[in-house]
């Protein structure tokens, strides 16, 4: 009835209908994408970056390395025990501290401290670190991750709300501990 080059009334309506759907889809896509990416863009606000106390300085004997636990600064109701985290605290002497993540710099398994030989050993792939966290042997390409720490009113506090991974290491290492 119409030749192929002219646009029929129904054809035009169909195209407008498709355009209309496209606009609505785009408008809906925006909140969906923002919801999905919230864990990256803002996530739990910046609450997870706040400083958490590990305990009094006097709880950590000089020259020794002890396991300490802390709770992530941001907790959701369904998190259960997963917000509790462990870290290795080394008191070199006086107010001089090093706070290491338990996560091996290779693939994140929990490393254990052996005071007799002065080594951290990883049970997964056999990474080993010296007492100052530097790499001793095995597959890790670097030393243990260190959390930024500071000492206030006799309390040692750390900034440790994020899972330490090789990607984060650059950021973590860049921050000089204010009181070290």
């Amino acid at each position: 009835m119409s030749n192929e080059n002219t646009l029929s009334r129904r054809g035009l309506f169909m195209k407008i209908g498709m355009l209309f759907n496209g606009l609505v889809a785009a408008a809906l896509a925006l909140p969906i994408v923002r919801f999905l990416s919230s864990s990256v863009t803002r996530g739990r606000g910046n609450a997870y970056l706040s400083w958490v106390p590990l305990g009094r300085v006097t709880e950590f004997p000089e020259g020794e390395t002890r396991l300490a636990t802390f709770q992530n600064p941001y907790v959701m109701p369904t998190d259960g025990k997963t917000v509790d985290t462990a870290c290795w605290v080394r008191r070199i002497g006086g107010d001089q501290f090093q706070v290491f993540a338990v996560n091996c710099a290779h693939l994140g398994c929990p490393v254990r401290w052996f005071p007799q030989s002065g080594l951290f050993m990883c049970p997964c792939h056999g990474g080993a670190y010296y007492r100052d966290g530097s790499r001793a042997s095995g597959p890790p390409e670097r030393g243990l991750f260190e959390y930024p720490h500071k000492i206030e009113n006799g309390l040692i506090t750390i900034q440790a709300g994020e899972l330490p991974t090789p990607a984060l290491s650059a950021a973590l290492d860049g921050k000089q501990p204010p009181c070290a």
Binding site: G80, T85, G108, R112, Q116, S117, C124, Y130, P140, L163
Partner: protein
């Protein structure tokens, strides 16, 4: 009986499905494809349906919350009637599924079924394999225990190695800055909604193409696939030497599917469910996380690769492998189908199988990991202490207390990270021993800062005892001469 057929007719006048279903069931297939080699695809489909059913059953009890998941698994294991059995069926179903999918893939490849015109069937199959592995990994996460928690950490560490976007990918994967409630929830959504939904769609496509394009004929050496002639040849074959799929070929599928289900149920009954291991509490660090069976080879590979190769291998390796699999039907879309005329194909399959098998075997006893309790648990063999001097005995103590035993075995007890030391005195002279202990090297940490001179002396005195009876320890001849001339040595 008449009533049933009347009801059937009533439905069919409205659905109009009887004719196409009968046509599909009775479509002719080449006679020699009614073979026990052609049963793995339908077996995979059977196990997939079992996984859907048992998965839904588990979801009746399971709670996808980081604070409740572990306890709900305990309840399934111990409190709910036969909960343990449904968990065992689902867990063993996962292992069977991966195994059957891999066997199916190898069979398809060796029989040349990926060639023209079934390229897209193969490609969809590659995606089905990836989704099956995705289900296996996300399923391991839902079994929210220590292995799941630290496994997620390993996944995050691998993802974080992606240049630039690494940190972003980790947060997207974990649903936040740490492994927590949001992580489990999103893996639940993946395992229960996203991946199964895609799997069902892709399985339908896969089966549809098998029906439309016809089942791959039995490959004959010398019968070469050409794009121009294959379709008419295949058509002729099914006409001349074809038989209706039902019942001519399907009875073998039915027998094998029932056999697989039976074997799976037997495993579930005999071995029981997998885990859960310890509570997913990150403050419990006395744990040795290990992935499920089908990722053990990766675990081994990550210990054995040189550190500098690790990141490229992790990031580029899978991409190359997947692209290779996707391109395969285009690179070898024509030619011989029979494995008898495709030596490189056979060797490739063998090579990959041997590599994966070897790595999986190695991951079974992890020679690369220190034995965390060897220093306090494994005794020093008596023969090395018999008649030993006080210094040598003191050295044996240093050897144990300084955790040397965690990486070095004596009398086949202890770690295997470093070499066994039963005959180290034959290999290294006194000076070499001292240097190795103090400076380390060759993947051994340096102990210089952790040993007093007295401890080093005692340790090396003990190490010099470690040689088989009748084999003298290594000596530096030049040193003997120097010491004799200077008069400090007898």
């Amino acid at each position: 009986m008449r009533l049933i057929s009347q009801i059937g007719d009533w439905f069919d006048r409205r659905l109009q499905l009887a004719a196409p279903i009968r046509e599909t069931a009775e479509h002719p297939v080449p006679r020699n494809t009614a073979s026990w080699f052609y049963v793995f695809g339908s077996a995979a489909l059977t196990v997939f349906i079992l996984q859907l059913v048992t998965g839904i059953l588990l979801a009746l009890i399971y709670v996808p919350s980081a604070s409740e998941a572990w306890s709900s698994l305990q309840a399934l294991n111990h409190d709910v009637t036969l909960g343990w059995f449904i968990r065992a069926l689902h867990g063993w179903g996962s292992n069977f599924m991966v195994a059957i999918v891999l066997i199916h893939m190898v069979q398809v490849f060796l029989f040349g079924a990926h060639k023209f015109p079934r390229e897209l069937t193969w490609i969809v199959g590659v995606f089905l394999l990836l989704m099956t592995l995705g289900m296996a990994f996300s399923g391991q996460v839902l079994r929210f225990d220590q292995d799941a928690y630290w496994g997620l950490g390993i996944g995050a560490s691998i993802a974080s190695r992606v240049p630039i976007a690494g940190s972003m990918i980790v947060k997207l994967m974990l649903g936040g800055p740490i492994i927590a409630g949001a992580t489990l929830s999103r893996f639940f959504a993946l395992h229960v909604f996203v991946i199964p939904g895609m799997l069902i769609g892709f399985v339908c496509l896969h089966v549809l193409m098998v029906l439309k394009l016809g089942i791959n004929e039995w490959p004959m050496p010398g019968r070469v696939v050409k794009r121009s002639t294959y379709l008419s040849q295949y058509h002729e074959l099914t006409k001349k030497d074809g038989a209706p799929f039902v019942p001519y070929a399907i009875w073998k599928d039915l027998f094998f599917a029932a056999f697989i289900l039976l074997a799976l149920a037997a495993c579930a009954l005999y071995f029981g469910p997998f885990g859960p291991t310890g509570r997913p509490d990150p403050t419990i660090i006395q744990t040795v996380p290990k992935p499920d069976y089908f990722f053990l080879w990766l675990y081994a590979l990550l210990s054995l690769l040189p550190p500098s190769l690790e990141t490229p291998a992790l990031l580029i390796g899978p991409v190359v492998a997947i692209i290779g699999l996707l391109l395969l039907p285009f690179l070898s879309g024509e030619g011989e189908k029979s494995w008898r005329r495709r030596p490189i194909a056979v060797l490739t399959v063998l090579l990959i199988a041997i590599i994966l098998g070897t790595f999986t075997h190695l991951a079974g006893y992890m020679p690369w990991s220190p034995h965390m309790n060897a220093w306090s648990g494994d005794p020093v063999p008596e023969r090395f202490l018999h008649g030993a001097t006080a210094v040598q005995r003191q050295g044996a103590l240093v050897f144990q207390v300084k955790q040397c035993r965690n990486c070095h075995s004596l009398g086949e007890l202890g770690g295997q990270r470093g070499p066994a030391l039963d005959s180290v005195a034959v290999r290294l002279t006194q000076d070499q021993l001292i240097r190795q202990v103090i400076q380390g090297g060759g993947n051994m940490p340096a102990y210089g800062k952790n040993l007093s001179p007295a401890e080093t002396t005692a340790l090396v005195a003990f190490l010099e005892v470690l040689h088989p009876a009748g084999q003298a320890p290594a000596r530096d001849a030049a040193r003997d001469i120097v010491l004799r001339e200077s008069g400090t040595h007898p």
